[in-house]
Symmetry: C2
Subunit: 388 residues, 2 copies
């Protein structure tokens, strides 16, 4: 794979690639300031990326400025294609993306069961489907496949524990690479993957420190500090899913009263209204009823908003971040509960403290698959060899 004239990307080269991916188009002189490098170094470092066709020199914009106009560097977003897949207990959702994890096509398959071979086959089918619907339609020009999964993942290859799939120690990357003829596959915890996507391409783009809260089947939590996504051996255990938020709230399935899952997750909220109404309710319906002013729905979503606000206060005060990104397929709650959340946040936070920046990523389910693609992109850059 690696001939004699290529070498592993240096630290500076990797930082350059990251900066252009996140902030491009961006001029060499601006890059020099950000990375603390001289203009000379920028010329040298960017050359191999231009030669490879990964970077392009954009046209100078910004008229009116004095002096020679900059020729900003940017990634050629269609230089590579990636596929991101989110696997839940019920289905497989896939997207084909460009180099900035922008989804171009999507596809989904329902899962019949949790048998490993069957799931691998379903994933492979989704991969082939989204690949066929994008680019040349050929799998061979896909640069990588990312897989995101709710659970604990080791070394980006092995699923240690996935409660929704009832899996333990499944070498998913190996299995899928075999199935896909050697295409590089990377597996990561879903919240970690989504956090990476927000950091590189989403609402946390370029921020050195921020947290991510996801609302969906459960409540997820991710943290970025010093430009790095925090991954611990406990990542994927959903430790932020059972924070006590409301001493008079309902119980979750594990018996925690008013915990984040009971108060904020889609099943938690649906169950609360369902019990009150004596029938099953869909999540969309809860939100619609709340918007229409239905007293029970309003009461439940307002309590959820207050719980979310309190959770945000805990995060701001303990993780010491000034920005939180809200995402997940259940983030529609924000539409009806933003007021209650902001009120509770303000009550639990010092008046002199700098305000917490909140960003909502409302792409819903696609965000998860996009996160998987971001992991594949990160991996592809880590594998990159540049000519000397």
């Amino acid at each position: 794979m690696t001939d004699a004239t290529t070498t592993e990307a240096s630290r500076s080269a990797r930082e350059l690639a990251r900066e252009v991916l996140i902030h491009g188009p961006i001029s060499r002189s601006e890059l020099g300031r950000r990375l603390g490098l001289s203009p000379a170094s920028l010329t040298r470092l960017s050359k191999p990326f231009l030669d490879l066709g990964l970077f392009v020199e954009g046209v100078e914009e910004q008229k009116g400025a004095i002096g020679r106009p900059a020729k900003p560097l940017d990634v050629r977003v269609d230089a590579r294609r990636f596929i991101g897949i989110k696997v839940t207990g019920d289905d497989v959702l896939g997207v084909a993306t460009d180099l900035r994890a922008t989804a171009q096509t999507r596809a989904a398959h329902a899962l019949g069961g949790h048998d490993v071979a069957a799931v691998v086959e379903a994933i492979a089918a989704v991969v082939r489907e989204v690949a066929a619907a994008s680019g040349t339609g050929d799998l061979t020009d896909v640069a990588g496949v990312g897989l995101s999964i709710g659970g604990n993942v080791a070394g980006r290859r092995i699923v240690k524990r996935a409660p929704f799939l009832e899996w333990r120690d499944v070498p998913l990357a190996d299995l899928l690479e075999r199935e896909l003829g050697g295409l590089p596959v990377t597996v990561e915890n879903d919240v970690t993957a989504l956090t990476t996507a927000e950091q590189w391409f989403g609402a946390g783009r370029g921020l050195p420190n921020f947290a991510v809260v996801t609302i969906g089947a459960g409540v997820g939590y991710g943290l970025v500090m010093h430009d790095r996504v925090i991954v611990t051996p406990d990542s994927g255990l959903g430790l932020a899913g059972h924070l006590p938020l409301d001493a008079s709230g309902p119980l979750c399935i594990e018996g925690h009263r008013g915990c984040s899952t009971a108060m904020l997750s889609i099943p938690g909220i649906c169950a609360q209204l369902g019990i009150a109404l004596g029938r099953e309710v869909r999540y969309d319906e809860v939100l619609e009823l709340a918007e229409a002013g239905h007293p029970l729905a309003v009461s439940i979503t307002t309590a959820a908003g207050r719980a979310l606000g309190r959770m945000l206060a805990y995060i701001a005060n303990l993780a010491m971040v000034d920005t939180v990104v809200l995402s997940g397929e259940g983030i529609g709650l924000w539409r009806v509960a933003e007021g209650a959340a902001r009120e509770a946040l303000a009550a639990d936070r010092d008046a002199e403290a700098s305000p917490l920046q909140l960003h909502v990523d409302d792409a819903g389910f696609v965000s998860w698959a996009r996160g998987a693609a971001a992991i594949a992109i990160e991996d592809a850059f880590a594998r990159l060899r540049l000519s000397a």
Copy 2:
């Protein structure tokens, strides 16, 4: 100050100094492994420190090992002296320390009021007193003075806001440097300083990620991630001082029910028992009564322990650390409330999660002054010039 043959310490030199300070005595080969440098580099980098007399080559220990025994590097702890000062609203406590912030002498003065000039004079008096009682007794061979203060500090020189002293925008470092004849003075928030001391010389020694919780006049919180103490513009506002921990707890002075200050601070705990007994109680007395089984004291300290356990769970889950250091002059609470705290921690934390490591620094008030000295030491190393 800087002659032509000296130059600013390189990144590797600074990392070497830090590693030896934290882990010395330590052999060059072990240092090479830790810092990712070749043995050759270690020889080169450590030479200027040996020439300056800051490092010594220890005697080889550890018999029984095969091969040439290592001559471990260590800092010469008495090569420099530092002074650390903690300023509260009521008094000034100072210690003289060696290069590892080990306190050798101490002194304290009560403050009559909060007038800036008077406080500066009191600090200077404490500095002179501890200097006179240690080393040569001369101020001139003190390498630096560190000051730690409860409040918001800018640029390690200006006190932006110190509620206990009722100060705003006091250029304390400048004032004190003038008073002390140009001796370098560094000012830092007390929790940040204490956190640095724990990281370099204390219970968090060498850990890349951990949190610090202090119990004292208030409740403090510090965070270390990726080997760096997290400092935000909000540091010193005491944001973790009003976390809701017990919905049925007492109110704090700002009206938060069952917040960390109400449940855990020395005044909070004394007030609870004081109200119940109808008389003033000292903190020591509360702890003694609780140890003796006094029902009210036990009830109050047990509730405090439960609140502390819950706070630790929030920290572990949201700051994503696996270690917490407990410190502060009120940490004696741990003696009587450890059981309740650990129980509450376990209840709020997933059974599969890795256990939270807890370290108690029971040096009490001296820890605060030691923190100030650690800041002075950190600064002295940052100022260091090495011969080329």
